[in-house]
């Protein structure tokens, strides 16, 4: 299995290269650049724009820019050579001038751990949201399947349908009005993220969609497994119902759910623009969205590559987890 995992990691290299290449082509084909402002604002003057372009190498041919991004290059103004993506350098942010993309996303404030960086905040919230989704969603799906067509199933179906169909910004506003404005259990605007209670609403909003999907998926998968011959066999040989459910039904029903949860976690831990906008959450989701409209090229490249790597790694983790869930699966090639 070690060889398989190593090979999969090596596959990351062409994946990253292709993702980087496509992103680079797409973003440079969009009109405008990082120095363009809201049309009603004063625009950066031609001299300053030329200076900034020269400083960041944006006046060079696109192929040169791309290879410098990947391998590194010499800054023609400062004359300093800097290594590129191969050394983990994701380039300078054009909007938050003075910071590199990795500094912007991964560097915590002074005297704080990584968990207090933008990526750290998003990671913590993502894991919390996933925990909520797993701890509530999967049991809800299992119970719905076992109690099919009872009121429990209908309530679960209703909540899951709401979770899937109602956009999370609507859910967020509703929760804020109920729990902050009306009940006053939490403030509308979190005073400090060191206080755990203020994490609950953002985590619920972020995890609600995943919770709903995992509940529906678990239910469907359970219903399918329940009708399998091996379940009938297990019961026929006199196994206790508890063991039939835990050992034979849930374990087998989890395979499609795990397939879903892997990429879902990638989506959760890389931050959410909606959550950050609504709750003032200091994560990295905003960087993804604003980088595009700001034409912050390095930030677009960096965040896309991070996302691609996380999705690829989560898919690998899913594949490895399969082995434990289903002994018939072998990771031999």
């Amino acid at each position: 299995m070690t060889g398989y995992i190593a090979r999969r990691f090596l596959w990351l290299i062409p994946v990253v290269l292709i993702v980087a290449g496509l992103t680079f082509i797409l973003m440079h084909n969009a009109p405008g650049g990082p120095w363009d402002r809201d049309p009603s604002s004063r625009q950066v003057d031609a001299v300053a724009q030329a200076r900034l372009n020269a400083f960041y190498g944006l006046d060079k041919p696109l192929f040169y820019q791309f290879t410098s991004y990947l391998i590194g290059g010499r800054n023609l103004v400062t004359k300093e050579w800097s290594c590129g993506l191969i050394c983990g350098n994701m380039g300078p942010s054009y909007r938050v001038r003075g910071m590199t993309v990795q500094q912007y996303l991964f560097t915590p404030p002074a005297n704080r751990s990584f968990l207090y960086s933008k990526a750290g905040y998003s990671l913590r919230l993502g894991v919390l949201a996933l925990l909520l989704a797993v701890v509530i969603g999967i049991p809800a799906g299992v119970i719905s399947a076992l109690k099919q067509n009872t009121w429990i199933d209908y309530v679960s179906l209703f909540i899951a349908t709401v979770g899937i169909s109602v956009p999370n910004f609507v859910i967020a506003i509703f929760l804020i009005i109920i729990f902050a404005s009306t009940l006053k259990w939490v403030p509308v605007i979190p005073i400090s993220w060191d206080d755990f209670s203020v994490w609950v609403l953002p985590a619920v909003v972020l995890g609600f969609g995943t919770l709903a999907r995992s509940a529906r998926l678990t239910r469907a998968s359970m219903l399918e497994v329940m009708r399998m011959d091996y379940i009938r066999t297990a019961r026929a040989k006199g196994l206790a119902e508890r063991i039939v459910i835990y050992r034979h039904m849930i374990k087998n029903a989890m395979i499609p759910v795990v397939t879903f949860l892997g990429p879902a976690l990638a989506g959760l831990v890389t931050g959410s623009f909606i959550i950050e906008t609504i709750f003032g959450f200091p994560g990295m989701g905003r960087a993804y969205v604003t980088a595009i409209s700001n034409r912050d090229y390095s930030m677009i490249m960096g965040t896309t590559i991070i996302f691609a790597v996380i999705v690829a790694v989560m898919n690998l983790v899913v594949d490895v987890v399969y082995v434990f869930l289903d002994p018939r699966i072998k990771l031999s090639d």
């Binding site: 969009a30 009109p31 103004v77 003075g98 404030p109 967020a172 506003i173 403030p187 609504i278 003032g280």
Partner: protein, 558 residues
């Protein structure tokens, strides 16, 4: 016995000095004004910042040689006075004595020299640096090619910049510790009797060279590095979360009466909810919440809606048909139902205008009434144009930044022109940054589109010369009027204030004569302010929140 008396006197003197020193630092205020600023700033380096939310931070922590008061007059800031030479090509600032930074260290003219030069320095590459290009030598140094210029050439260009600090005896200053270094001379390439107002802007704020040297790129990310000379000190700065300001005990102009807290909620519905819940004292009022506020007896009294600093116009490309014909431009200006737009589309959040300089700014022409909404005159103008009738006009496309709001707005405008002139306007929505890119260059600038201009500083020079002189911002629609250029050159160098204002008034009339664009509406600032916030005075140029120019006078009485 005598020695005992002596000891007692000495003890009393020392005690009174100690107590006196203690009294010097006023107690920190117990109240905090909580403001939602919206977007977290990308940069807080005065010489690199340029956005409103960035300026809203810098304006509290730093101060220029001059500053704007709540009547938008240029008044002494760190300089107690300034004086122009006879032909207005040099201004001499005299600093207040014993000025201090927030850390208690000396602030002399050499500090301002450093910051002004840092703004011009090509290696700073400040995004707003062009605003000081009137300074002699500034444009040459700022425009130097860093890839080819030698260190000697760059040093010579720097030395040629007419910004120099002197001591009170007229000798060049030596260092930052020199107490007598109180004079700063700034020379300009052409007469520029408005440059003292330009030097109130944030790009001139004094930052400490030794602090910048800690890390020239990211020094501003640490709250403690903002050692400024403004009324407040930044005590906490947490990205995307919170910024706390406390009064600066070393500020020459007094001790602020409240602490300040900025938070960064960009979702207006959430900010409004937090405001209603008592978690904010000041927020921006979004258009979609306006009807809720107006219908509520309590909230409606807390809304502050007052003129802003921007004029929006329907821009017509002067070299793209049919707008090459003045009569067509006149027709489109006449046909624009500005009152209907403000009432139906902006829901009252704006005011119709027929002038470029808005109400509340020096140079506003209250008497201007040309090209106002007049359907009959619009049709007559088309008939008098070289096209003769609307069916002979070439295809007209209105381009706009594609948002749901702008779609509705532009559909309204197309309907307006269809109703009044019978002309079909094709709508061309484009992505917002693409829109900016298109509108920046005269070659790609659309046939007709809406664009605004917001004041950098309250002087007609900024509205007229910076925008409408040939090669200025109106270059994008290929506007060029030699007669207007000549008039603006005269106005820009006139030292006599009354004559100068008259020249600008004449220039604005001349500009309007040719109906180059259709002046459309002025924005309004819209905020919600809790009734217990007192001492707040608003200005059209408020950046970030209502009353920022009066921050030092604000109290909370609850």
């Amino acid at each position: 016995m005598r020695s005992k008396w002596l000891v007692l006197v000495v003890v009393l003197v020392i005690a009174s000095m100690v107590l006196g020193a203690c009294q010097k630092a006023p107690a920190a205020p117990s109240q905090t004004l909580r403001v939602n600023l919206g977007t977290y700033p990308d940069i807080l380096d005065p010489q690199k910042a340029s956005f409103v939310n960035e300026i809203a931070h810098l304006q509290l922590m730093y101060e220029g040689l001059t500053k704007l008061n709540t009547a938008l007059e240029t008044v002494p800031g760190s300089a107690e006075k300034w004086e122009y030479n006879a032909d207005a090509t040099e201004v001499t600032f005299t600093l207040r004595k014993n000025l201090k930074f927030s850390d208690g260290s000396l602030l002399n003219a050499k500090r301002f020299e450093y910051s002004l030069l840092r703004n011009i320095d090509p290696s700073t590459a400040g995004e707003y640096a062009a605003i000081t290009d009137d300074i002699a030598g500034a444009a040459a140094w700022r425009g130097a090619d860093l890839a080819t210029a030698t260190a000697e050439q760059l040093a010579a260009l720097k030395a040629a910049v007419a910004v120099k600090a002197y001591d009170t005896n007229g000798n060049p200053c030596t260092d930052y510790e020199q107490k007598t270094c109180l004079v700063l001379k700034v020379g300009t390439t052409n007469p520029a009797p408005y440059i003292h107002t330009v030097l109130s802007l944030w790009v001139t704020y004094p930052v400490k060279e030794e602090v910048v040297a800690l890390d020239p790129d990211t020094w501003w990310t640490v709250a403690a590095n903002h050692i400024g000379n403004g009324p407040f000190v930044l005590s906490v700065l947490e990205a995307n979360s919170v910024a706390n300001f406390t009064p600066n005990a070393n500020y020459w102009g007094g001790f602020a009466k409240v602490n300040l807290e900025y938070r960064y909620i960009t979702d207006s519905a959430v900010a409004f909810e937090a405001y209603k819940n008592g978690e904010f004292d000041i927020i921006g009022l979004a258009a979609e919440d306006l009807s809720t506020v107006q219908a509520d007896a309590v909230l409606s009294k807390e809304a502050m809606i007052y003129p802003g600093s921007c004029t929006f116009a329907y821009m017509f490309h002067q070299e793209k048909e049919p707008f090459t014909d003045q009569k067509v431009r006149e027709a489109f200006a006449y046909a624009l139902n500005r009152d209907g737009w403000v009432k139906d589309v902006l829901k009252g959040l704006g005011s119709p205008t027929l002038t470029w300089i808005p109400k509340g700014f020096p140079g506003y022409d209250a008497a201007e009434n040309r090209w106002g909404f007049d359907p009959a005159a619009a049709k007559a103008a088309i008939a008098a144009s070289s096209y003769g009738s609307v069916d002979k006009l070439p295809e007209i496309t209105a381009t706009f930044s594609d948002t749901p709001r702008n779609r509705t707005r532009n559909e309204w405008l197309a309907g307006n022109y269809k109703d009044v002139l019978g002309v079909d306007i094709k709508l061309n929505p484009v992505e917002s940054t693409t829109y900016t890119a298109l509108t920046k260059d005269s070659a790609t600038a659309p046939q007709m589109y809406i664009l605004g201009w917001c004041a950098d500083y309250p002087d007609p020079q900024n509205w007229l010369s910076v925008y409408w002189k040939t090669g200025g911002f109106a270059e994008r629609i290929k506007y060029s009027n030699p007669a207007l250029d000549a008039m603006l050159v005269e106005a820009d160098k006139e030292l006599d204030s009354a004559k100068r204002m008259q020249l600008y008034a004449d220039a604005q009339k001349l500009l309007t004569d040719g109906a180059p664009v259709a002046f459309f509406w002025n924005n309004v600032n819209t905020y919600m302010v809790k009734p217990y916030v007192k001492g707040l005075t608003t200005t059209p140029m408020d950046s970030g929140w209502a009353g920022i120019y009066s921050a030092i006078d604000i109290t909370i009485e609850k």
